[in-house]
Each structure stands twice: as structure tokens, then as C-alpha cells.
């Protein structure tokens, strides 16, 4: 299977703090990886670098064969807009736009907004009937599903999720994980940053970080599609 993402000897240093310390990681196309670790282990830093929202102090980030570690902020923004869909722990929906408009915002910055496509994305996460509701009228689980629909709308090569079930109850957690399973089946690559073992256990591969270093990287033997 060809590589979608390669992190080569990545370090991120803030003053004396080595948030990431000479980390290397490959992600294959269509692979589902869980990045786990305690608070302060460097998970979020790694997510920001993979999501093109931050640059490493040293090392290379190669995405789909292209070295993006030295690109300008503007190029990185354009790159992540085209290739990556983001799912946040706190959903981050725009509170004055309804569900379908929130999905269309991602289209707006990517290419051309299309309400029918946005409604189809909401239908995919089971929320078509809630399309005209404002975030304040949706439950946490529903807001997260809108967030996922927004991440999917531009058909990204990678879904990058930061603690996607951190604010959800068990029922909604299962709904979100089922959506991830479905996406994986359809060939979407997933990188899920989490400290929740239950979320990590459903991934194809589990990478553990501690103190900015990868301490384990192994396939999940219990993984099943």
C-alpha cells in the first residue's frame, strides 16, 4: 500500500521543551491510526503538524509524496484545505450558521458551495432532518456529526480527528466510531488523536507517545472492519 504521509525525524521545540523529539511516522493510504498518550505527550503538537496548522522545528513532513515542511503559511493553508478534513473535540461549529451552512462553509473555502452536496453529507451522518437547526439546537453528538460532515464534504485524503469523542456520551461515541468505520471501509485515511483506550482500540494501528517520543507503534490485532 502506498504512503499517504511520512513524518521524518520531526522535532518541535518550544524554548527548553521538546514537544516532539525526533519522531518518525508513516501513514499508508486508507489506514486508520490512533495516536494515544497522556496529556503533554505531544499528541496535539503532532496533530497540528500533520494538519498543516504548525511547522516542525526540524525534520520533514511528506504528504502524498510532497515535502510540505518548508512551505509558506499560505501554501500550507491551501494544502490542508485540499487534502485534510478536521474533526475537533469541541466541534467548533459557527454558532450563527445552521447545520447545512456550517458544512457549506468548508466548501466555500475549498471550491464552490453546493447545498445539495452539503445535505448529502449530513444525510451520511444521519442528520439530514436537522439541516436547518442552529448548533445551539443540536445535542453534542449531533454537533460532532455536523463537524464530521464538514470534514468529509471536500472528499479529503485524510480525516484528522482530535479527541473526537471527548465530549460525547457512550451512545454518541458509538455513533461517531461507526461513522469512522464506514469511512475507513470506503478507503478514507484516518488519524485519530485520543487518550481514550476505547477509541484507540477500534483503530487499525495504535501509536503511543510519551514525552514527545513514540514509545510503541503496533498493529491492532483485534481490529475488524
Amino acid at each position: 500500500m502506498s504512503k499517504l504521509l511520512e513524518l521524518k525525524n520531526i522535532s518541535k521545540i518550544y524554548g527548553d521543551l521538546h514537544a516532539l523529539d525526533n519522531v518518525s511516522l508513516d501513514v499508508d493510504k486508507g489506514e486508520w491510526i490512533a495516536i494515544m498518550g497522556p496529556s503533554g505527550s505531544g499528541k496535539s503538537t503532532m496533530m497540528n503538524i500533520i494538519g498543516c496548522m504548525d511547522k516542525p522545528t526540524s525534520g520533514q513532513v511528506i504528504f502524498d509524496g510532497k515535502d510540505i515542511s518548508k512551505e509558506s503559511r499560505r501554501k500550507l493553508t491551501e494544502f490542508h484545505r485540499d487534502k485534510i478534513g478536521l474533526v475537533f473535540q469541541q466541534f467548533h461549529l459557527i454558532n450563527y450558521l445552521n447545520a447545512v451552512e456550517n458544512v457549506m462553509v468548508a466548501q466555500y473555502y475549498h471550491s464552490m458551495p453546493d447545498e445539495k452536496e452539503a445535505l448529502a453529507a449530513l444525510e451520511r451522518v444521519g442528520l439530514k432532518d436537522r439541516a436547518k437547526h442552529l448548533p445551539s439546537q443540536l445535542s453534542g453528538g449531533e454537533q460532532q456529526r455536523v463537524c464530521i460532515a464538514r470534514a468529509l464534504i471536500n472528499s479529503p485524503e485524510l480525516i484528522l480527528a482530535d479527541e473526537p469523542t471527548g465530549n460525547l456520551d457512550e451512545k454518541n461515541e458509538n455513533i461517531v466510531l461507526d461513522i469512522f468505520r464506514q469511512l475507513h471501509k470506503e478507503g478514507t485515511s484516518l488519524v485519530v488523536v485520543t487518550h481514550d483506550p476505547e477509541v484507540g482500540e477500534v483503530a487499525q494501528r495504535i501509536v503511543r507517545l510519551e514525552h514527545g517520543k513514540i514509545v510503541s507503534d503496533k498493529k491492532n490485532e483485534s481490529f475488524s472492519d
Binding site: 496535539s44 494538519g51 504548525d54 484545505r81 467548533h92 450558521l97 451552512e101 466555500y108 473555502y109 458551495p113
Partner: protein, 401 residues
């Protein structure tokens, strides 16, 4: 309009409509600023007109005198007056002076139009009543004191002249004629009885005359020889008055127009100071408005930093975010400017009625100026917080740091 433009409008409208309470706070700040600005602009431009009317209580500000040996005739006077626009002329009063004798004492009669004299001399204080027609007189206080005249008296003004062949004596009673016993020449003491309706007090030289109607003077002196002087009261500033005086002087061979410098110069000086004061107040209010609007817009935009971070995380370029937020700000500025223009008129009207006791003149040109100033101030006020907000790292904002 393509789908992207439609989405842009949809987002801006949603932000303005669904974040109503926040937007009303911002709009209120802009409307208050625009109202005060628009009101002060109106007052600033209306001050000369208002003050010109107020200054008319100083009396006439232009004097017409004969430019040659001939007196000013009625038709020449009307031509001269026509050089002013009709709304500039507050009033004008022609004067004709003649020497007379009253109680065998010399005095000076001034023929005037009693209906118009208070427009050019509004400061006249009359004990008694203004004469209402022929056969009545208003006596200056000094003359009254010297000759012992009181209100209600009837005095006889005498015109003594030598009767020649040209003299029309048809209306003169026979008893007024007498012959000089030495030379045998014929003389006439033509007299006119005048009822004193009031005593004039001004504290000035006006108290040295006895005022009668121009018709009485014509009948006493048997001729209408025109006017010696005309006082004009015009609601215009010094530059305009100078311009009209120059025009009259160049066009008319019989009238010499002069400005009453002590009046026009003091008007000009007071007005310049007043306008400077209003200008400074307007400038200070503009600065305070900018600070107020900037503070409000900064607060409104700062609380949306997370949204800006999210938009960046979704791939928005800085220029795109600035365009969206500026569009919202400029729309608010435009709406605030329109409302401010309307409310500013009522504000100026209120001030004008209370200070000048007259209504303000509506100036349509100030509407686009107010809207443009409102949009500009709001735009500048938004630009600084937006530019600082788009520099924020989306990763930090989304993490809530």
C-alpha cells in the same frame, strides 16, 4: 451571482441577523456617533445663516448715500435693493432730513417709513407708540427735552421759505404768507401740526431728530426730492455684503453703497470664532466617536477570535476573512450612517430651536458625507482588530488558549 458570492452574502446576513443582540450594540455605538456628527455638521453649516439673523438686532449693516449732488430716487433705491436676494433682505429704511422750526427753535425733521424702520433699527425703544400715519411724529428724547415736548403734545413744524414764481402755493392757506416790509419780498411760514405719539430713546444720535412720515415731509416742503440716506439690513456675511456693495457701486450712478464696518466686522469676528468652536467640538466628537466605535468593534471581533481560528483551520486565507468581517463592519457603518443622518437632523433641530429659536436648514449633501464618514470610521475601527485576529494561530485558538 455565483454560488460562492451567494454563500458570502448568506454568511454576512446570518451573522448580522442571528447575532442580533451583539450587532445592535455595535450599531447603537455607530448610530450615536453618526447622529452627533451629522447634527454638528448641520449646525456648523447653519451657524452663519442663524447668526446673520441674530446679528440683525445690531441694526443696519449697509448704508446707501447719494454718490453725487442728487438725492436717491425711489427707482434707484429699488434697483440697488434688487442686487440682494429676497431672502437676504431683512428690511430697508430711507431717510429724508429737513430743517424746521418748532416753538421758534431750530430742529431737524427726519422723514421715514414707520412700517419698516424697526427692521433696520430694532433696538429703538419708544415711550408711547410708533406713529401710524400722517400728522403724527416720534420725537427723539434729546429734542423732546430741549423743546419741552411730551407724548400726547401737538407741535407745529414750520417751513419758512421765500415765495418765488416757481413755488406752487395753491394748497397753502393765505394767512401763512407775509411780506418783508423793507424789501417787499413775499415769504411763507408753512406749518404742519404733528401729534407726538412717542418719545424715542436709543442713547445715540437718533434722539436728536423728530421723525415724521415721508408724506408729511413732502406736504410740508412742497416737494418729494428723494432720500438723503437709506439704511439696509441684510442677512449676509461681510464678504457677501462687500460683493453686493461693489456691484451696486459699479452699476449705479446715483447710489454709493457702504458697509457699516463696526457691525459687519464684529459679526464676522464673532462668527469666525463661533464656527471655530463648533468645528473643534465636531472634531473632538469625531475622535471620541472613533474611539467608541473602535472599542465596541474590537470587543465584537475579539469575541469571534475562535470563529476566525476555525475559518483559518477550514482553509480560509487571511484576505478572505478580512473581506467577510469588513463587509459586516461596513454594512453596519452604512446602516448606522443612514440612521445617524436622520436622527442627526432632529438633534440639530433640537439644538437650533433651543439656542437660536429657529429651525435648522436641511442639507441633503450632508447625508452622503455622514454615511461616508460612518463607513470610513467603522471600517478603520474594524480593520485593526480584524488584522490582529487573523494573525492568530488557529491551532491555539481552537485549543482554547
Amino acid at each position: 451571482m455565483n454560488k460562492k458570492q451567494k454563500m458570502f452574502i448568506r454568511m454576512v446576513v446570518a451573522s448580522l441577523v442571528r447575532r442580533r443582540s451583539r450587532m445592535i450594540v455595535a450599531l447603537l455605538a455607530i448610530v450615536v456617533g453618526a447622529t452627533i456628527l451629522s447634527g454638528l455638521e448641520l449646525i456648523y453649516y447653519d451657524v452663519p445663516r442663524q447668526m446673520s439673523s441674530q446679528f440683525r438686532s445690531y441694526g443696519a449693516n449697509v448704508i446707501f448715500t447719494p454718490s453725487g449732488d442728487d438725492n436717491i430716487q425711489r427707482e434707484d433705491l429699488e434697483k440697488g435693493i434688487s442686487e440682494f436676494s429676497s431672502d437676504e433682505i431683512e428690511g430697508y429704511t430711507p431717510y429724508r432730513y429737513e430743517n424746521t422750526k418748532i416753538h421758534n427753535m431750530p430742529a431737524t425733521l427726519a422723514g421715514i417709513d414707520f412700517d419698516s424702520v424697526l427692521k433696520t433699527s430694532p433696538y429703538w425703544h419708544i415711550s408711547g407708540n410708533m406713529p401710524s400715519g400722517v400728522g403724527q411724529a416720534l420725537v427723539g428724547a434729546k429734542v423732546a427735552e430741549n423743546l419741552g415736548i411730551k407724548q400726547g403734545d401737538t407741535v407745529s413744524a414750520v417751513n419758512s421759505f421765500e415765495v418765488t414764481e416757481e413755488t406752487d402755493t395753491s394748497d397753502i392757506p393765505a394767512y401763512e404768507f407775509y411780506s418783508d416790509p423793507e424789501s417787499g419780498e413775499l415769504y411763507c411760514d408753512h406749518s404742519l401740526d404733528l401729534e407726538v405719539t412717542g418719545i424715542l430713546e436709543t442713547g445715540g444720535s437718533e434722539e436728536e431728530y423728530i421723525y415724521v412720515s415721508l408724506d408729511d415731509l413732502t406736504s410740508l416742503y412742497l416737494t418729494d426730492r428723494g432720500y438723503d440716506i437709506v439704511e439696509v439690513s441684510a442677512a449676509a456675511m461681510q464678504d457677501r455684503l462687500s460683493q453686493v456693495a461693489e456691484t451696486i457701486n459699479s452699476k449705479s450712478e446715483t447710489i454709493s453703497a457702504k458697509l457699516v464696518k463696526r457691525v459687519t466686522a464684529s459679526e464676522s469676528s464673532v462668527l469666525t470664532k463661533l464656527q471655530s468652536l463648533v468645528f473643534i467640538v465636531t472634531a473632538v466628537v469625531l475622535v471620541l466617536t472613533m474611539i467608541c466605535v473602535a472599542t465596541t468593534m474590537t470587543a465584537v471581533i475579539t469575541e469571534r477570535r475562535k470563529e476566525i481560528g476555525l475559518r483559518k483551520a477550514l482553509g480560509a486565507l487571511n484576505s478572505s476573512i478580512i473581506a467577510e468581517f469588513m463587509c459586516e463592519g461596513l454594512l453596519l457603518g452604512g446602516v448606522g450612517g443612514i440612521l445617524g443622518s436622520v436622527l442627526g437632523y432632529y438633534f440639530a433641530q433640537f439644538v437650533s430651536m433651543n439656542v437660536f429659536s429657529s429651525s435648522i436648514t436641511f442639507r441633503p449633501l450632508l447625508i452622503p458625507i455622514t454615511i461616508a464618514a460612518s463607513v470610513l470610521v467603522t471600517g478603520l475601527a474594524c480593520l485593526i482588530p480584524i488584522k490582529s485576529a487573523v494573525e492568530v494561530d488557529p491551532a491555539l485558538v481552537l485549543k482554547g488558549e
